[in-house]
């Protein structure tokens, strides 16, 4: 790695090497039976060079041919992609706890046993088609650059996904359990899943119209993407953010507070530095409904003459292969401040409405504008504060900048959302729902 950096420095003004290694072991149970075990041992290197303020970008898997990697970066300079930023010199890093050594000893047998235990529990309480997967993940990230930065971090994750599928569909109630180390899926998650499943077994076909909608973390992805898009420095720079000139203005209900806190190591996925080697720190995006800040990587900070906030990540909305992705602004440890109401208290506040357990098509529609239009998968229909059944064919549509002004209340529990956000249930009013009736 050092050698590659030395070679890169010789042909450029500034250079940076990002390397990533990860192993993962994943057990999957389908229809409550062991179906598959797969393992991954992956590593790769990504190189950025800057010469005359132009960017060269290259990556490879096996550093068998350093010269080829450097040459690919030099060739890429020909594109003349502007790069008017410095790589940071980062020496001191916040201390965070992201690594649990015991993860290395977790065997496939343990994953199989834990998955079987959860399957049996779910099976004993429901008639659902059950699938469970359980995965251990260990990663090492290292960032070196020509300014003298050489930092690395190791993380471990354990994740279990469990789902109860309504027979005849592929839709159902699912939950994730994430942790820095291997552990049993807590009872409260299992209980919540089986209760919701049981309460919503009856299919009903309600009338459409405006109603209250409770976004659950699995469907909240639709909102998270739109919030991330609107508050990204990239959208601001490209003039597609509808809130580009609204810093200091109230854009959402008072109770909405959103921050990104990479240092919060109580939850897995915490980071001391971003994928460009900038030290991470907490950032408030929205406070009591008021837009406080956008988030920046090196490139967009320089384009907008702002300070980088440590949000340069090699990811896309779809994930993707980090070494092949150029850093861009991303929120990876986002929190929406929880409220005070329990789930059942929130349900009691619904005269007529739906709990949106899952949404289909969160990625379609006009994301920059904040518009969404998602199929329910499923929606639990509520009348007079009671769940009365589930809805299959319906679409929930709206715009986050209008809807998040009409918040009824926020739940008191944070749920993991795809490992990059921790979100409470949010109940909104006057959301439009289209159905066949």
């Amino acid at each position: 790695m050092e050698k590659s950096l030395e070679m890169a420095k010789k042909v450029s003004d500034k250079a940076e090497i990002y390397s990533l290694g990860y192993t993962h072991n994943s057990v999957s149970f389908k229809n409550a039976k062991l179906h598959d075990i797969g393992s991954k041992l992956q590593s790769g290197v990504s190189l950025r060079i800057i010469k005359d303020n132009k960017l060269g970008f290259a990556y490879t898997r096996n550093l068998v041919n350093r010269q080829e990697l450097i040459q690919n970066a030099i060739n890429s300079l020909e594109g003349e992609v502007e790069a008017n930023y410095e790589f940071p010199l980062t020496k001191e890093l916040p201390r965070i706890d992201t690594f649990d050594l015991s993860m290395k000893k977790v065997s496939s047998t343990q994953l199989v046993e834990e998955s079987a235990r959860v399957c049996d529990l779910l099976k004993s309480r429901t008639d659902a088609e059950i699938s469970v997967s359980s995965t251990t993940y260990t990663e090492t990230i290292r960032v070196m650059n020509s300014c003298g930065t050489d930092i690395s971090g190791q993380s471990t994750f354990y994740v279990m996904y469990a789902s109860l599928v309504f027979p005849g569909s592929a839709s159902g109630i699912w939950r994730a359990f994430l942790s820095k180390n291997f552990g049993e899926m807590p009872d409260n998650i299992v209980n919540e899943m089986t209760e919701l499943y049981t309460l919503s077994s009856k299919v009903i076909e309600p009338k459409g119209g405006k109603m209250k909608i409770m976004f659950m973390p699995n469907s909240m992805m639709a909102l998270k993407w739109r919030i991330s898009s609107g508050t990204s420095s990239k959208s601001v720079y490209e003039k597609v953010s509808p809130v580009a000139n609204k810093v200091g203005e109230k854009i959402f209900d008072d109770r909405i507070t959103i921050h990104d806190d990479p240092l919060n190591d109580k939850y897995p996925g915490a980071r001391a530095f971003d994928d460009e080697g900038v030290a991470c720190k907490p950032l408030t995006i929205i406070e009591n409904g008021v837009l406080k800040s956008f988030y920046y990587d090196l490139d967009y900070a320089s384009k907008l003459k702002a300070e980088p906030t440590g949000h340069g990540h090699r990811t896309t909305a779809w994930g993707g292969e980090p070494i092949a992705i150029k850093p861009n602004p991303a929120l990876t440890h986002m929190f929406i401040e929880p409220g005070k109401k329990s789930f059942s208290e929130l349900v009691k506040l619904i005269d007529r409405g739906m709990i949106l357990e899952g949404g289909l098509g969160a990625h379609s529609g006009n994301i920059p504008n904040g518009d969404f239009s998602i199929g329910v998968s499923p929606g639990l229909y509520v009348e007079n504060g009671e769940i009365v059944g589930r809805v299959k064919d319906a679409m929930v549509a709206g715009n986050i900048y209008e809807m998040l002004k009409q918040v009824v209340d926020i739940g008191d529990t944070l749920y993991p959302s795809w490992g990059t956000a921790w979100l409470p249930p949010i109940l909104c009013d006057n959301v439009s729902v289209a159905t066949k009736n």
């Binding site: 072991n25 590593s43 569909s169 098509g361 379609s364 199929g375 549509a397």
Partner: protein, 454 residues
């Protein structure tokens, strides 16, 4: 390379093993508006090994050759653990052994086109929308992906196949006040650089749509009879039906599997659906899948009745049905899973004009933006649409999102047109990205679709 893979396979203590080594070469040019955001040409590689031992099947993917022993032992151990735990052993359908090399003949090899020329071509296309003052932003990319695959099984199959995919695609974003509207633009294919040349007219047409959308009204939510254009009907057949023809999806969903029994009458009489990866010169083309099984046309539905299914060797054995050659991986980072190749609704008799007359009142909706399915329910967006009154096209509408139930919708397909068109650019994300996923359809009339408006 075959020698190296043979050695790997022979070192595995198993009843069956296969090893795939792949070099993936990618060239990307991408613009965000006027700005060039990325220009890169890179090569990566890695191995995928699958092991079947005593009826337990496990896999490992790795990149470093020094990891090979560790990787093989992990896969063996996991296979043994599965064998010990499951009641019904995994079997692979017999596929015979093949030795073959297939290097596609391209209409202009993209790897031989100089970077400067590619850059110039992309810039020219990108400039077309940017000239318009209502266009706030573009995201236009050129991508060229080559998979050089080497595949060996313990049964003696040895395959070398290249897949070269070229595409020029992205989004054109119009803005008027606070309203933004995006339209997609797509060109490309599996048979060479010629598929991305001469796209100026395409970019002009898409720009005009983006601009017109800024003046269009949002569609009123509700239930409509709709004509779907080819692109949208193709996404429908892929999303709503195609995924449930993939045996690995329904294998472990007992209720769905029962409904999807061969012979079941699920669709209207006019509906015939086939998946055919062997159609030459299409983005969905391949000769052998990533289990070394020859791709073959598979009739999935005939006159509304289910006639076939897409299989891997594992599911063909599990279902007791014929192999179809549809087990495909994204690249060296993934084990293959069942994928559609080129799925299409076979054309009927009526012309588009005749369809409009048959529709009377309703919507004409065009081109997909995103789609997703969960069991019997699906959702996808149309980029734009037109109100239709008395068989005449009326004003343009925006924000068209469709949601429906698979079984109802298959029965509600009332007329299939005569103008089949296949997609040029793929992108199906079933756990892995399949950039060669191809779909097609003629204009298709569907009754009673739920449209979610704003």
């Amino acid at each position: 390379m075959f020698e190296k893979l043979r050695r790997i396979v022979s070192r595995v203590d198993a009843d069956y093993a296969d090893a795939r080594y792949e070099i993936k070469k990618e060239t990307i040019i991408s613009f965000n508006g006027k700005e060039l955001a990325k220009v890169a040409s890179n090569s990566t590689d890695g191995y995928v090994v699958r092991v079947l031992k005593d009826g337990g099947m496990a896999s490992v993917v790795f990149t470093k050759e020094s990891d090979v022993e560790k990787a093989l032992r992990m896969a063996e151990e996991n296979a043994r653990l599965i064998a010990k735990t499951i009641d019904k052993p995994v079997r692979l359908a017999e596929s015979g052994t093949v030795k073959d090399t297939f290097i596609p003949k391209l209409k202009e090899d993209p790897r031989k086109v100089p970077m400067a020329e590619k850059l110039d071509l992309v810039r020219k296309c990108n400039d077309i929308p940017l000239k318009h003052k209502k266009i706030a932003m573009t995201r236009i990319s050129y991508e060229e992906v080559t998979r050089e695959k080497h595949f060996v099984t313990s049964e003696g199959t040895e395959l070398r196949e290249d897949l070269v995919t070229t595409r020029l695609y992205g989004e054109i974003i119009g803005k008027d006040g606070n309203l933004t509207q995006n339209v997609r633009v797509r060109a490309g294919g599996g048979n060479g650089f010629s598929t991305v040349r001469d796209q100026e007219k395409n970019f002009e047409e898409r720009t005009a749509i983006a601009v017109d959308l800024l003046k269009a009204k949002p569609v009123q939510g509700g239930t409509y009879d709709c004509i779907l254009n080819q692109g949208l009907a193709g996404v429908f057949v892929h999303e709503a039906f195609g995924h449930f023809s993939e045996a690995d999806i329904i294998e472990t969903l007992p209720a769905m599997r029962k409904k999807m029994k061969i012979g079941s009458k699920l669709g209207s009489d006019v509906l015939n659906i086939i998946d055919n990866p062997t159609i030459a010169d299409q983005v969905g083309f391949y000769k052998h899948d990533d289990e070394g099984v020859a791709a073959r046309p598979t009739q999935l539905m005939k006159n509304g009745s289910l006639t076939g299914r897409l299989h891997s060797r594992r599911t063909a054995s599990e279902f007791g049905e014929s192999l179809s050659g549809h087990c495909v991986a994204e690249d060296y980072r993934f084990v293959p899973i069942i994928r559609m190749g080129t799925i299409l609704i076979e054309p009927g008799e009526p012309s588009f004009e005749e369809l409009l007359t048959m529709l009377g009142d309703g919507l004409y909706i065009l081109d997909a933006k995103g789609g997703q399915t969960a069991g019997e329910n699906f959702t996808f967006g149309a980029q734009y649409g037109y109100l239709v009154k008395n068989g005449k096209l009326g004003e343009m509408v925006r924000d068209v999102n469709i949601s429906g139930n698979l079984y109802k919708t298959l029965r509600d397909i009332s007329v299939v047109g005569n103008d089949l068109l296949l997609s040029k650019v793929g992108g199906c994300g079933k756990g892995q990205m399949n950039i060669r996923s191809c779909h097609g359809a003629p204009h298709t009339l569907i009754k009673n679709l739920v449209i979610g408006g704003a």
